[in-house]
Subunit: 286 residues, 2 copies
């Protein structure tokens, strides 16, 4: 019988054990990628839930103590906390530690962390595209990253060895890794995630309560992500403001054309937009 | 062992055997609500598929012949064909037949059919809220209407006996029946179905092809209905134009406020919209 592969890491620290952080922990444990996983967070109940679910072996409230033996630190806090958390963690990790995050935006975070971290410690940005309107460790799943895309955003300063290590880590969780610049990432996810979130929220907010008895599959699908955590999304939209505004302007232009066609009773123009939408949607499937 | 209940109808005719029509057929057969179900349609392949699946016992190309023994006729054609189909069917059904439809709009259809039909024949509008982006008899399911809402839109002229019969029919398929005026129906579904469809289509159409590699759950949910049949939706949107435009204007106003807040970096105003959206979405669940 072949000996199980040795763990990749002696110790991994996960800061923030909500849906993403706790899912990373579960996946690491299930795939035996680390001997020891430390979960770090400020909310005792969340940490305890993550430990109960087996997502982390140890719960720590102190970042300094939680990361002190970690060769890999994954910061899964809300977007606004990522930079300061990485900076602080970098002061306490052992030499050659690799730090990454799971934030939905990359430009500002990566730029802010371009200032040198302590010698031999490296930060490389990550964004696993595996969020959900469901939050918290109670919804965590070991297979959350299987066949999902994780965008990794190196800069010119990123050493190849750190990048390779991070890529292997996400791939070990079952993900497909794509490299791109932080700016390119932010422009694309503005179109595929941040603008759609704003649209879903606005649609839900604009639906009269009296109509809710008549919602069916279409409305339920179209507004599902509006159930996401408003505070997390406030941070994401503000952090990726310019790209999100551009994506929303592009959407608003198409919707305005659709409304004009409808108002004018122009069936051909209306059909053309509906067909363009179907073509794009069908290109993706599911 | 109790004897199975006698079928409600000797013969039911379904005109148009796509997703909705074929699902009605499957549900009738499974629940033994009719001795004989005739499917009527213009596309031989679709009719044949519906018969193969057991949704209809007999396939007919002639409306006149297909409905001639039917006590109940359900017109499941695209919206633009409903009025003429009901009018023609009414000329050929036996006395006391009940005619209904499954169209997504009601105002114009019900108004056009207010002109007297032949003696003792009645039309009452129905809208089963059970559509999908998937069309055709191959996606039909006998349980499509279970726990779904069917809106029935009587007028002052609708005899109580016809209304009661129609209600029992939809309830026998597992649906929850709601009565409302055609106008009220159209205003509400504009907000919950027709405007959301336009929004999903515009969002899909506005998404750059280069971004499609990065779509995840949020975009997939938000745009799912954009895969629906453009021609069917062209008809629905045009038929319910004024209500749809009003619902879209309401949405556009909220989205514009969101964009203003984002542009101004006004986190509080942004959060308020995201929270309003979440509150409405959470009120529905799923």
């Amino acid at each position: 019988m072949p000996k199980p592969a040795a763990p990749e890491f002696d110790c991994v620290a996960i800061v923030g054990v909500g849906l993403i952080g706790a899912s990373i922990g579960l996946a690491i444990k299930e795939r035996k990628l680390a001997r020891h996983v430390v979960g770090i967070g400020r909310t005792k109940k969340t940490l305890e839930k993550a430990r109960e679910r087996g997502a982390v072996d140890e719960a720590a409230h102190s970042l300094a103590r939680g990361v002190k033996e970690a060769q890999l630190v994954i910061v899964c806090t809300p977007v606004e906390k990522i930079v300061e958390t990485v900076r602080e963690a970098a002061q306490h990790v052992p030499p050659h530690a690799l730090l990454t995050d799971a934030g939905s935006t990359k430009g500002n975070i990566v730029a802010a962390l371009a200032a040198p971290l302590p010698d031999s410690v490296h930060f490389v940005g990550s964004h696993p595209l595996a969020g959900s309107e469901k939050t918290g460790p109670e919804h965590a799943r070991a297979d959350l990253f299987v066949d999902r895309v994780v965008v990794v955003t190196p800069t010119k300063e990123t050493p190849a060895i750190a990048l390779g290590e991070l890529r292997l880590f996400w791939e070990a969780l079952g993900a497909r890794v794509m490299f791109m610049s932080p700016r390119e990432h932010d422009a694309l996810v503005a179109a595929t995630s941040h603008a759609p979130h704003a649209i879903a929220s606005a649609l839900a907010a604009a639906t009269p309560p009296a109509a809710l008895e008549l919602v069916a599959g279409g409305w339920l699908d179209t507004t599902r992500i509006a159930a996401g955590d408003p505070e997390l999304w406030r941070q994401i939209l503000l952090d990726n403001r310019d790209h999100s505004l551009r994506a929303l302007a592009k959407f608003a232009k198409v919707l305005s054309e659709l409304r004009q066609a409808l108002k004018a009773g122009d069936g051909e123009a209306l059909l053309a937009i509906l067909e363009a939408g179907k073509q794009t949607r069908d290109a993706v499937g599911n």
